[in-house]
């Protein structure tokens, strides 16, 4: 499980780009990419190294009033785990 005091930041190889075919965002990295849903895009935008996971949970909770912070934290940690297992986050192997 991801530590909540960590400040997630993408490794330099990752590029976030809008995909006008689908209206969604893509995370591109060598040879491949991930298609993000709306929530994942919001999280991805916060992976700048500025925000801790706690900060990010708080921001998302405010944006999505109807979802509980626990639920948001759980989903966020899952997503960050996916990113880190793929080596897409800096210093979070």
């Amino acid at each position: 499980m991801t530590l909540t005091t960590i400040r997630p930041r993408f490794s330099p190889k990752v590029r976030l780009r809008f995909d006008r075919r689908t209206g969604r965002h893509l995370l591109l990295y060598p040879e491949t990419g991930l298609q993000l849903n709306h929530t994942a895009t919001v999280i991805a935008r916060l992976c700048t190294g500025e925000w801790t996971v706690d900060d990010m949970v708080e921001q998302l909770t405010q944006a999505y009033g109807d979802v509980s912070p626990d639920e948001i934290r759980r989903e966020m940690c899952e997503f960050l785990d996916v990113l880190s297992h793929r080596g897409l986050l800096q210093g979070m192997a």
């Binding site: 190889k13 590029r15 780009r17 689908t22 060598p30 040879e31 990419g33 080596g87």
Partner: protein, 367 residues
């Protein structure tokens, strides 16, 4: 456009020229007889048209793409339309200055092919001294903070070096290590008896790779691709014919895979004569093996058809003489005995020193 056939990657084969002479290169043997390379402006238009089709990844390859002196311009323009640009190279000939320049212009990642982890063997396989320079190039790549993929084409002579390859990739801080196996098409098919590893070699290598993959998870991605001569089912070739990839070859021919035009009877078109979008959607060659209508038995009713699309068309053609048949690598396919006998032969010839038959003339391929 439905998402079923949306290309994500354009493989731009910029040139057939290459300073190396790898015996397993699958590029045409008679490339000197091929036509001219398409020019800078044509490539830039192709990039643009590919991006409009949905392409987000651009692989610049060859031959050796470094031999194109407009590489700078191509990378710069690709970046302007937001393509993620991967340079696939042997690393020869490159200088640190040129690599820095390419990076500054927007290059996103570099893949370097390594023939062997042992300098003398590597140089012998490549046909020219090149190992030390490759090592330098890989260090330059990571020192510039570019993600590095180290690509190894495995075959009988180098597969026992698997631990050394992993150690080398760690030493140069590779981001990915691709341990691929030779595809037995073209030249490699002719040299197959010298190249095909035995089942024991494959099993050992797979175990070592799996251990490294687990140990390095999150810092280096380790990919081991079992040769389909040793799997029960074929791989999905190019993730399906005309589904995810477009290859444009040095002469401007647009293809679903880089060998598709070696299949007789298929009609492919040149980007100089038709827009890439039209070719993708309407050319007879791209449509020939799309969807399920063309599927032969036993694929037609097989559950795996959504995973492998019946396998590789080129392999069906080059091994069985009919591109419309199931990939003979499949254990359910009619022509599978051919693959079985090749495997048996690999088992019998264990221990015999490998002698590569060299290409003559200016050989090629970084891949």
């Amino acid at each position: 456009m439905n998402n079923e056939s949306r290309p994500y990657t354009l493989i731009a084969e910029l040139t057939y020229r290459c300073p190396l002479r790898c015996p397993y290169c699958s590029n045409p043997l008679d490339f000197a007889e091929h036509g001219n390379e398409i020019d800078t402006d044509t490539w830039l238009r192709v990039f643009q048209e590919a991006e409009e089709l949905g392409v987000v990844q651009l692989n610049l390859t060859g031959g050796e793409p470094l031999l194109r002196n407009d590489l700078e311009r191509l990378i710069e323009e690709a970046r302007k339309i937001d393509l993620y640009t991967n340079l696939i190279t042997s690393g020869i000939p490159l200088t640190f200055e040129r690599l820095s320049r390419l990076r500054a212009l927007g290059l996103d990642s570099v893949q370097v092919s390594v023939q062997s982890a042992r300098p003398s063997v590597s140089d012998r396989i490549a046909g020219v001294p090149s190992f030390n320079r490759k090592l330098d190039v890989m260090r330059w790549v990571t020192s510039l903070d570019l993600p590095l993929t180290m690509n190894v084409v495995l075959h009988r002579e180098n597969i026992s070096e698997i631990n050394e390859f992993i150690a080398l990739a760690e030493r140069v801080s590779a981001d990915r290590l691709e341990l691929a196996n030779t595809q037995y098409l073209g030249w490699a098919l002719k040299n197959r008896s010298a190249l095909l590893p035995t089942r024991e070699q494959i099993e050992r290598a797979r175990t070592v790779a799996a251990e490294a993959k687990a140990r390095l998870r999150g810092s280096m991605e380790v990919l081991f691709v079992t040769p389909d001569y040793y799997t029960d089912y074929p791989k999905s070739c190019m993730e399906g014919w005309g589904r995810r990839f477009i290859v444009v070859n040095p002469e401007g021919l647009a293809l679903p895979c880089h060998l598709a035009h070696t299949i007789p009877g298929l009609r492919f078109e040149h980007v100089t004569q038709r827009r890439l979008g039209d070719i993708w959607h309407h050319s007879a060659g791209f449509n020939r093996f799309r969807g399920e209508d063309w599927l032969p038995d036993p694929c037609r009713t097989c559950e795996r058809r959504v995973l492998d699309f019946g396998g590789c068309r080129c392999q069906a053609f080059h091994v069985l003489g009919d591109a419309g048949m199931a990939d003979p690598a499949c254990s359910l396919a009619p022509g599978h005995d051919f693959i079985e006998s090749a495997r048996a032969q690999a088992g019998r010839t264990t221990g015999v020193p490998v002698l590569f038959e060299y290409r003559t003339g200016r050989g090629r391929s970084a891949r």
